[in-house]
């Protein structure tokens, strides 16, 4: 049995948290995440979840409290956006390196300056090498499904890394969509009991967390972390398979939307993938050989699988909702091009779009496919939707 509700993205995120019912949540409000935590705080206040909700004075403290609670053995969640995540920065690395399976919805919002509360991916993309897994969502249903799966992926013994569930601020966080929910007991059964790895509160087996780790051991510990990220790939797929059995909804590392036989493939992540699908539908109806590859899992980066999926493309356009400000291209583009190096003859172009919440519509998506067909190419990124 499932319940169908009209929910915003943030409400979907709050449902995830209610059903997971973490032992500890430490959070600080920031637009556009605020509504999620507001809703979850209501659940706590109404006694609907037994979570210990710690209201802290900053995101640095929020992530620090999460680290402490997770090390103590608790199942832990938080959520943030933009500047909030920027303030968590040093603790993001610590959470990952201490191998703490914290799950955090990251409601994507552009970074200051100039100050802006709307969506782009500069916050999460900046944190792409912190050791967190990053899963991107296209719609409110995916926010719900991904949030539930994230907990199980994070706590897998071969992974034990924190997971960011990234979804677009306002575009998804404040948009009502139809969301199909699992029953509470189904979610509980799916994620199972949290059995922490050597928790601090196991006083019969005392352990030390976070000791000084010098030239003789630090490297080995980073090597372990790298391995955990590699292990995460099959675990993401395994959890997706189990989730499909439970929910009937299928997930993978990425979604191939008419891209298998397409000559012209766009690679995109987040809510813009929905717009791209509409563009693909229209162009396919007009007989064009176009497709979309919607990246879901950005960390771990599914290089091998992407190479296989993009092998036959004639042209590839990679969409980035974050500018690396590095004169070489956006983060998704750089990594896809690196993965394809020497393994594809397709020309790969880069489009920076939607910064600061700038709208992207079907016509703009179609123009990217048109560019590919016209052979329009430049070494530098194209800026889509900016005023010249």
């Amino acid at each position: 049995m499932s319940t169908i509700l009209p929910l915003t993205g943030n409400e979907s995120g709050a449902e995830v948290m209610r059903q997971i019912a973490p032992d500890v949540v430490a959070a600080y409000p920031i637009t556009p995440q605020t509504e999620l935590m507001h809703r979850f705080a209501d659940y706590v206040a109404d006694g609907k979840v037994p979570t210990e909700l710690i209201l802290v004075e900053s995101e640095h403290s929020a992530m620090s409290a999460c680290v402490g609670a997770s090390a103590a053995g608790a199942r832990v969640m938080t959520a943030t956006s933009s500047q909030g995540m920027a303030l968590m920065w040093e603790i993001l690395y610590i959470a990952a390196a201490l191998r703490l399976p914290i799950v955090m919805p990251l409601v994507n919002r552009s970074l200051s300056a100039p100050i802006n509360i709307h969506c782009d991916h500069s916050d999460s993309m900046g944190a792409r090498d912190t050791g967190w897994l990053q899963l991107y969502c296209e719609n409110c249903q995916e926010i719900y499904d991904t949030g539930i799966q994230a907990m199980k992926i994070a706590e897998n013994k071969d992974v034990l890394l924190p997971v960011m569930v990234c979804y677009d601020g306002f575009i998804l966080s404040h948009t009502v969509e139809r969301v199909e929910l699992l029953e509470d007991h189904e979610v509980k059964g799916f994620i199972g009991e949290h059995i922490a790895d050597h928790p601090l509160l196991d006083v019969d087996n005392p352990v030390t967390y976070g000791p000084l780790d010098l030239q003789d051991f630090y490297f080995e510990h980073k090597r372990q972390e790298a391995e955990a990220m590699r292990n995460a790939k099959p675990v993401v797929l395994q959890v997706a398979e189990e989730y499909e059995v439970l929910s009937g909804r299928k997930y993978g590392l990425f979604e191939e939307y008419f891209s298998k036989d397409a000559e012209y493939i766009m690679v995109c992540l987040g809510s813009a993938a929905g717009t791209a699908k509409a563009a693909v539908d229209e162009l396919r109806a007009a007989g064009e050989n176009v497709g979309l590859l919607k990246l879901r899992v950005f960390r771990p980066f599914p290089a091998e699988e992407l190479v296989a999926a993009l092998a036959d493309a004639k042209r590839i356009a990679v969409m980035d909702r974050a500018d690396g400000v590095n004169s070489i291209g956006g983060p998704v583009f750089s990594e896809i091009r690196a993965a394809l190096y020497g393994r594809s003859s397709a020309k790969i172009s880069n489009y920076i779009y939607g910064l600061g919440g700038r709208d992207i519509d079907i016509e703009m998506m179609k123009s990217v496919f048109q560019d590919m067909k016209d052979g329009k190419y430049a070494e530098e990124a194209f800026y889509l939707g900016v005023r010249e």
């Binding site: 201490l98 191998r99 790895d197 050597h198 087996n205 030390t208 967390y209 003789d216 372990q224």
Partner: protein, 115 residues
């Protein structure tokens, strides 16, 4: 301490056994090693009291030498010695002293005449 590879070590930099600092030989950090001149030493034991690694070996209330497996060469002992009896010698200068059966290098045996 036998240095395990990344597959054997506990994950996340955790230390799983309490009281294990004995296994970590801070002596590998040392650039200068303390050497005591027993003729100058008045056995006030100030060095023994202040050594952060409990690496000064004392017997019968007399300084006998250093446990170089743990002495990290910080030089506190030399700095605090009231009679300047301790010299910090660069590690590139060969250490000719053999460790004894306790694993301790008694750098300079007590002088039979003055001791």
């Amino acid at each position: 301490m036998p240095e395990k590879g990344w597959k054997e070590l506990p994950i996340g930099g955790k230390i799983l056994d309490a009281g294990n600092s004995i296994e970590y030989e801070t002596g590998s950090w040392r650039t200068f090693r303390p050497v005591v001149d027993k003729k100058k030493c008045i056995n006030c034991l100030r060095c023994w009291l202040l050594c952060p690694d409990s690496s000064i070996f004392v017997e019968d209330e007399k300084v006998m030498g250093y446990d170089y497996a743990y002495c990290k060469g910080c030089g506190i002992c030399a700095e605090m010695c009231p009679v300047d009896a301790i010299e910090m010698v660069l590690e590139t200068e060969k250490d000719t002293v053999e460790a004894d059966e306790r694993g301790i290098k008694v750098v300079q045996e007590e002088d039979p005449e003055t001791g």
